[in-house]
C-alpha cells in the first residue's frame, strides 16, 4: 500500500509526458487535409446554447465536408460540471480536440498547466487581429501570446427595468440615470412607492453586481487596474466604490441569498415586483421567451456610470496540447471565427459576434445596439465570468462578496479583496 502513491504518481507523470509528445507541431497541422472526427467539448447542452451549437455545426459541415463533428457536451451547473470533467480528462492526458472556456484570465490555469497551445500563428493566418476590436485582442493576449478563439461576446453591464414599476414610482423609463448617484436617488423613489428597487439573487449574481458597481464607481481604467495590479485595492477610491456597493445592496430584496440563479431575480422585474435587475444580456432571451416587449414592458440601458464601456465576457475555443486531431481542431477554429460561423451561432444564442464585420441586419434589435457599442466602446473584462481573473482568485472574491451580503462590513471586504489581489496578481 505504501507504494501506491508513487505508482499513481508515476502513472500521472507518464501520461503527462505522453500528452506532451508531438505537441510542438500541432499548430502547423493542416485543416484542409484533415479527416475523421473532431471532438468538441462544451457545456452547451440545452436551450438557446444548444440551438447555437447546432447552427454552428451546420456551418462546420458545409465548410469542412471531410470532417465529422463529435459532440462532447457535458450538461449541468452552468458549466461547473463540465469543468470538473474537463479537468480530469486533461490531467489524465485525454484531451478533446477543442474545449470551450471563458476567454481571458480564466484560461490562465490551462496555460500554467501547459495544457493548451499558443494560437498566435492561427490568428495571423486568418488575419483575425483586423476583425476583432483591439481592446478585445489586448484582453485575450497573455505574455504576447493568444490561446483561444472567441466565438461570441456577451455584455455584463446592462440594467433591465420594469416600465410599469418605474412609472408607478414617477420615474421616466425612457432615459437612463446619468450616474450612480442619480440611479440611487431613483431607487429611493421606488422604495418609497413600496416596491423592491433592485432584484438580486445568490452568490455569482452578487459578484456580477459588485463588478459593475466597481466599474461604474472607478471607471474602466482603474477597474481594469484592479486585476492587473495597476489599482491599489487599499486606496480610498476603492473604499468609496465598496461603500457604493453597500448602498446599492441595501436596495435589493432581502431574500437574495436564497434565490438560486439569475433567472428568479430577473423574473421579479418581469413580474413587476422589482424595478431593476443588473444582469448580462442573456436576460434578453428570457424577456423575449416570456413574450415581453422591449420599450413597452421593459427597458434596458448600460449600468449608470458605465455608458461607453462594454463590460465583456466571451466564450472561446482552444487547441489542447496532445489533441487527437489537431488539423480538425484548426478547421473547427476556422469555422467559429468565420463570419458565417459567428453569425449563425450568435443569431441562435442571442449573443453578438466577436468579429466587428458581421452584418447587423441579421440580428435582433438588442443585438444590433450591442454590436454598435462593442465596436465603439471601451472594453472592460468581466470579473464574475472569467474574463478578469483566474478561477482561484474569483473563488476567493466570491466568498468575500457573499460574506459581505450578510455582514455588510466594508473594511473586511476591502481587506479580503486586497489580500486576494496580493496573492494572485502577477
Amino acid at each position: 500500500m505504501r507504494h501506491l502513491p508513487k505508482l499513481a504518481l508515476a502513472a500521472a507523470v507518464g501520461l503527462t509526458l505522453a500528452g506532451c509528445g508531438g505537441g510542438d507541431t500541432a499548430t502547423e497541422a493542416d485543416p484542409e487535409s484533415a479527416t475523421g472526427q473532431v471532438g468538441i467539448f462544451t457545456w452547451w447542452a440545452d436551450g438557446s446554447e444548444k440551438a447555437g451549437l447546432d447552427a454552428l455545426v451546420e456551418v462546420f459541415n458545409q465548410q469542412h465536408e471531410n470532417l465529422e463533428f463529435e459532440n462532447l457536451a457535458v450538461a449541468g451547473g452552468a458549466g461547473s460540471q463540465a469543468k470538473s470533467v474537463l479537468a480530469a480528462n486533461l490531467q489524465s492526458g485525454n484531451p478533446p480536440d477543442s474545449f470551450q472556456a471563458h476567454a481571458g484570465a480564466e484560461l490562465q490555469d490551462y496555460i500554467d498547466a501547459d495544457q493548451i497551445e499558443d494560437l498566435s500563428s492561427f490568428y495571423e493566418e486568418q488575419a483575425l487581429a483586423d476583425v476583432f476590436p483591439s481592446s478585445l485582442m489586448e484582453n485575450l493576449t497573455v505574455d504576447g501570446q493568444i490561446y483561444s478563439v472567441p466565438s461570441n461576446v456577451h455584455r455584463s453591464n446592462v440594467v433591465w427595468s420594469s416600465v410599469e414599476v418605474l412609472e408607478d414610482a414617477g420615474i421616466d423609463p425612457s432615459t437612463a440615470p446619468a450616474d450612480l448617484d442619480a440611479w440611487i436617488a431613483d431607487m429611493e423613489k421606488v422604495k418609497a412607492a413600496g416596491k423592491t428597487p433592485l432584484a438580486l439573487a445568490g452568490s455569482w449574481t452578487q459578484v456580477h453586481l459588485f463588478e459593475n458597481i466597481l466599474l461604474s464607481s472607478l471607471g474602466p481604467e482603474a477597474y481594469s487596474g484592479l486585476w492587473n495590479g495597476g489599482t491599489d485595492w487599499n486606496s480610498a477610491e476603492v473604499t468609496a466604490a465598496i461603500e457604493d456597493y453597500d448602498k446599492v445592496l441595501g436596495f435589493t430584496n432581502s431574500d437574495r441569498d436564497s434565490l438560486s440563479d439569475w433567472a428568479p431575480a430577473t423574473q421579479l422585474v418581469e413580474d413587476g415586483a422589482a424595478a431593476y435587475n443588473v444582469m448580462g444580456d442573456w436576460a434578453q432571451a428570457k424577456f423575449e421567451q416570456d413574450g415581453k416587449v422591449a420599450g413597452e414592458d421593459y427597458v434596458y440601458w448600460p449600468v449608470p456610470g458605465t455608458d461607453g464601456v462594454f463590460n465583456y465576457l466571451a466564450d472561446s475555443f482552444t487547441l489542447p496540447k496532445g489533441a487527437p486531431n489537431p488539423g480538425g481542431t484548426l478547421a473547427w477554429l476556422q469555422t467559429i471565427s468565420s463570419p458565417e460561423g459567428q453569425t449563425a451561432f450568435n443569431k441562435a444564442k442571442g449573443s453578438i459576434p466577436a468579429r466587428t464585420d458581421a452584418d447587423p441586419a441579421d440580428f435582433s434589435e438588442y443585438q444590433q445596439s450591442a454590436m454598435e457599442d462593442f465596436k465603439s466602446d471601451t472594453i472592460a473584462p468581466s470579473l464574475a465570468h472569467g474574463a478578469a481573473v483566474p478561477i482561484a482568485w474569483l473563488n476567493e472574491l466570491s466568498t468575500a462578496v457573499n460574506q459581505f451580503s450578510t455582514s455588510g462590513d466594508v473594511a473586511a471586504l476591502q481587506s479580503a479583496a486586497a489580500a486576494s489581489a496580493e496573492k494572485f496578481a502577477q
Binding site: P5, P197, G202, N253, D257, T399, Q403
Partner: protein, 318 residues
C-alpha cells in the same frame, strides 16, 4: 514438513490439521479476497493518495508535486474561513445530536407504553428517513426561505416565515440559514426532522430489551417513577444512546448533500462546513487544500467511530 523422524507423527498430524483448516478457511478467504483487494485499492489506497496529495503544493490546475509536509494543514487551521467552517460544523453537530436524541427519546418514551396506535405513529416518525436528503432539501429550501414579511419584497414571503406570520407569531420569523453566525443551526432542523424517527426506533428497541421483571422488581422495592428511570431504565439504555450518538455524529460530520440542496450556492459563507469547503476548493482546482480538508474530515470521523468500534469489539469478546 520434513522434520526429525522422532516428530514425524506429530508433524503429520499438524499437516492434516492445517489441511483441514484450509478446507474451513480457504473458501471463506476466497470469498472475501476480492472485497479485500477492491477495498484495499479503492478505499485505503485512495486514502493514501489523498493524504499524499494534501502534502503537495498543487493549489492550481498546474501539475505540481513538490512536497510541503503539513504546511497546508497549518495554513488551513490558521485560516479564518476554515475556522468558521469548523465552528459551523461543531454547532451543526451539537444541534443535530441534541435534537435527534431529545425528540427520538421523547417519541420512544411516549410510544413505549400504549398498545394502540404505536405502529401507526412509529411509521409516521420513521417515514422521513426514507426520503433522500436531496429531495427533502429542495422542499426545505422553500420552507426555510429567509424573506420576512416586514422586509423589502416582503409580500413574496413564503414557507415557515409566511406560516408564522399568518398564525400571529410573526415575531418568530427569522432569516434561517442566511444568518452568518447561527444559520447552520437552521440546516439542522430538516436533518433532525429526517433522523429523529430513526433514533426513536433505536430507543424503542432499547426499551423493549429491558425485561419487565426489572421494572417490577424496582417498583416492589419502592422506586418512584423518576427513580425507576434514573437508576434502572437509563443505565440500560446507554449502549443504545451511544450507538445513536455515533451514527448521528458521523452523519453530521459528513453532511454535504442536505446543505447543497437547501442552499443554492456551494460557496455560501453562512453555512460553510469543511465538506462544502472541500467541494469549493476542488472546483477551484485547489487540489492540495481540498485533499487536506478531506483528510481532516476523515480524521474527525475516525475520532468518533474508531473508539466505538474498539468498545463494541471488547463488548462482544466479553
Amino acid at each position: 514438513m520434513g522434520g526429525p523422524a522422532g516428530r514425524l507423527s506429530g508433524s503429520a498430524s499438524t499437516g492434516s490439521g492445517m489441511f483441514k483448516n484450509v478446507k474451513t478457511w480457504g473458501p471463506a478467504l476466497l470469498l472475501v479476497s476480492p472485497t479485500i483487494i477492491l477495498v484495499g485499492i479503492f478505499v485505503y489506497g485512495l486514502i493514501a493518495v489523498n493524504i499524499q496529495m494534501s502534502m503537495t503544493d498543487q493549489h492550481t490546475a498546474r501539475p505540481s508535486d513538490e512536497f510541503v509536509g503539513l504546511d497546508n494543514y497549518f495554513r488551513l487551521f490558521a485560516d479564518a474561513d476554515f475556522q468558521h467552517a469548523l465552528r459551523n460544523l461543531v454547532l451543526l453537530t451539537v444541534v443535530f445530536l441534541a435534537g435527534t436524541l431529545i425528540f427520538g427519546f421523547l417519541w420512544a418514551w411516549v410510544l413505549e407504553r400504549p398498545d394502540r396506535g404505536e405502529g401507526f405513529f412509529r411509521s409516521i416518525y420513521l417515514f422521513p428517513m426514507a426520503v433522500s436528503f436531496i429531495a427533502s432539501g429542495v422542499v426545505w429550501r422553500w420552507l426555510l426561505s429567509s424573506l420576512q414579511t416586514d422586509q423589502q419584497g416582503g409580500e413574496r414571503t413564503t414557507g415557515l416565515n409566511r406560516l408564522l406570520d399568518s398564525v400571529g407569531l410573526g415575531f418568530l420569523q427569522n432569516s434561517w440559514w442566511s444568518d452568518p453566525n447561527w444559520g447552520i443551526a437552521a440546516i439542522a432542523v430538516p436533518a433532525i426532522w429526517q433522523l429523529a424517527g430513526y433514533v426513536m426506533a433505536l430507543f424503542l428497541a432499547g426499551f423493549r430489551g429491558i425485561p419487565d421483571e426489572l421494572r417490577e422488581a424496582a417498583r416492589i422495592d419502592g422506586c418512584s417513577e423518576w427513580q425507576l428511570y434514573r437508576h434502572v431504565i437509563f443505565p440500560q439504555l446507554s449502549p443504545v444512546m451511544l450507538s445513536a450518538v455515533i451514527i448521528i455524529g458521523h452523519m453530521s460530520l459528513k453532511l454535504f448533500d442536505l446543505i447543497r440542496a437547501i442552499v443554492p450556492d456551494a460557496n455560501t459563507y453562512a453555512v460553510q462546513v469543511p465538506a462544502t469547503q472541500m467541494w469549493v476548493k476542488y472546483i477551484g482546482s485547489d487540489y492540495a487544500d481540498s485533499a487536506a480538508i478531506g483528510t481532516i474530515l476523515l480524521v474527525l470521523v475516525a475520532l468518533v467511530v474508531v473508539p466505538y468500534l474498539v468498545y463494541t469489539s471488547r463488548q462482544e469478546k466479553r
